[in-house]
């Protein structure tokens, strides 16, 4: 029933792959878990196995190479496996075709990544409005275009790269709206671009593609509303002030049938919360993230967190953090402890470089507070339970001053997504209504299962007193 392993790595994106590789190469026994069929996460997203792709992207090739090394190091991989809960003693509860129900790990490395930031504005729940990540998955994994007339709205170079990929795949991209008013703010950060040659090349070449195809790139602009009867038919855009508030009178309407929102990412820190790791509120890094030491260890001994799930910073940062955590976790389980500190030190320059890039990115592309004011009272904030901003405000007026109480009254956060989509939207709304900081409003406490799990997969029989049995179950 419960397997034991020295190091469990949750998430097989760049952070998890690097962590698994480093731990295994140091001699630890490693199990790598991912909810997808194939490894790579979003960053190294591969095409579906059934498609033959003649020209995988540079990222896809890099991912494949890393994967080969991971397999070569003897890491056990559990695909299509979800970690849905944690129990006493860092016991992980799993659900997947090849997975044991429980995994007892001496060290856990969380590399759970991040997900596109949901942004609420009138019409954002119309079919045709999707995240940039959704468009990425369709394109990279299935080679399907998300729509015919595509408008991208967001911030940061990723959506420029996506727009170029869409255009090269034959899509009609109407425009790319960038929320930041770049030129004024970029100058101090130019130094952070040193060493980021691949990113620069990718970014510039994407901009060039868009330029050549006549796709407008519009800094200081945002989406104000999406319109349509049963799906998106047009969008109203506007120019933004430096606080990201739409400037009245600057509105325009663009015809489109697809809207891709790329406003940054929210770290998936749910597991670290369940494990009891102390959290920090860092809006510049995406939101709530676990506090870590220089070995990427959280406040819970033996639990490490790396990559976007511990603070949005991109693939290369995730890889170096993963490597550090992998070395540290292996040392903790008695492998390679002697050379560990030195090996970690050797990664300092790369870590420093990626952190500089992370800081630059955060400085340029963290959305301003106005982002949370694009919604109106009749705008849905909780997609799952269809709770509007007016409902949330009414709950606050009734005396609720925390996300949890608003949830009890309105049902927001009780839906299938368990508050991932609406959490920060609701927190900001409460903060505005109560005049108190966002961190005080709080987020919805996670409870197991953190993803829906079939009842038939949960009814395991208790193991009575057997050594290695799940302690809680044995007590029955």
């Amino acid at each position: 029933m419960a397997d034991r392993v020295e190091v469990a790595v949750v998430g097989a994106g760049p952070g998890g792959l690097s962590a698994a590789l480093a731990a295994a190469e140091a001699g630890a026994q490693v199990t790598l878990i991912d909810s997808n069929q194939s490894p790579g996460g979003q960053y190294f997203k591969q095409a579906a196995a059934e498609l033959w792709v003649g020209n995988p992207s540079r990222h896809q090739r890099e991912g494949q190479a890393l994967w080969q090394r991971v397999m070569g190091a003897g890491v056990r991989f559990l695909p299509e496996t979800v970690v849905w809960g944690t129990f006493e003693g860092n016991l992980l509860a799993l659900h997947g075709p090849l997975a044991p129900s429980f995994l007892q790990a001496q060290a856990i490395i969380l590399a759970t990544g991040a997900y596109d930031r949901p942004v609420a504005f009138p019409g954002w729940t119309l079919p045709g409005v999707m995240t940039a990540g959704a468009a990425q998955v369709l394109l990279k994994h299935q080679r399907i275009l998300p729509g015919r007339r595509i408008l991208l709205a967001g911030t940061g170079p990723l959506q420029v790269v996506l727009a170029a990929e869409l255009v090269r795949a034959g899509a009609n991209v109407v425009a790319v709206l960038e929320g930041a008013r770049l030129f004024r703010e970029s100058a101090p950060h130019v130094g952070a671009l040193w060493g980021q040659w691949q990113r620069l090349v990718e970014g510039l070449s994407s901009r060039l593609t868009l330029f050549r195809r006549g796709v407008p790139f519009r800094p200081g602009c945002c989406i104000v509303a999406a319109h349509g009867a049963a799906q998106v038919e047009s969008a109203t855009i506007a120019r933004l002030d430096s606080h990201w508030r739409p400037i009245p009178g600057s509105e325009e309407t663009l015809a489109c049938d697809t809207l891709c929102l790329g406003y940054g990412f929210i770290p998936s820190n749910t597991l670290s919360c369940l494990l009891g790791a102390k959290q920090d509120w860092r809006p510049d890094l995406g939101g709530e993230i676990p506090v870590r030491d220089r070995h990427m260890q959280t406040s819970v001994p033996g639990v490490y967190a790396v990559g976007d799930g511990a603070g949005v910073g991109g693939g290369p940062l995730a890889q170096v953090e993963g490597e550090i955590a992998g070395i540290a976790a292996a040392a903790r389980t008695g492998h390679g402890a002697d050379g560990a500190e030195k090996a970690i030190r050797r990664l300092d320059p790369m870590l420093a470089r990626e952190r500089r890039f992370q800081r630059m990115y955060a400085a340029l592309f963290t959305p301003g507070p106005g982002l949370y004011e694009w919604s109106r009272d009749d705008t849905i904030l909780c997609r799952c339970e269809e709770v509007t901003q007016a409902d949330v405000r009414r709950a606050v007026a009734l005396g609720a001053d925390s996300a949890n109480e608003v949830k009890a009254i309105t049902r927001c956060g009780m839906g299938d997504c368990q508050g991932r989509m609406c959490g920060q939207l609701v927190a900001h709304c409460i903060a505005r209504e109560t005049g108190r900081p966002v961190a005080e409003a709080g987020l919805f406490p996670p409870r197991p299962p953190i993803f829906p799990v079939p009842i038939v997969a949960l009814g395991w029989e208790p193991v009575n007193g057997a050594a290695g049995g799940v302690p809680e179950l044995a007590r029955r």
């Binding site: 579906a48 059934e50 729940t125 079919p127 409005v129 990425q136 998955v137 299935q142 299938d416 989509m421």
Partner: protein, 90 residues
Amino acid sequence: MSPAVERGQAITIIVDGVPLPACMGETIAGALLAAGRKAWRRTSHGQPRGMFCGIGLCFDCLVTVNGTPNVRACLTPVAAGMVVDTGGKP
């Protein structure tokens, strides 16, 4: 689509009783989008929804597959003869 791609084997799935062409390797959501359908679910208040996050976190794209409700279309690969129901709640 990208030129150097061979799509997966062509199959048929049944959506709301009507055959829909799809290719192996696609998800149910992908097949629906490729067929031009942006919405395939109604919320409790009757609002249309389709794909939003694309990675199985938003639960907008739910369909019933071979009788099992609450299946995320964006994560579920198509299979020949799969029976998909989008109607009503849930």
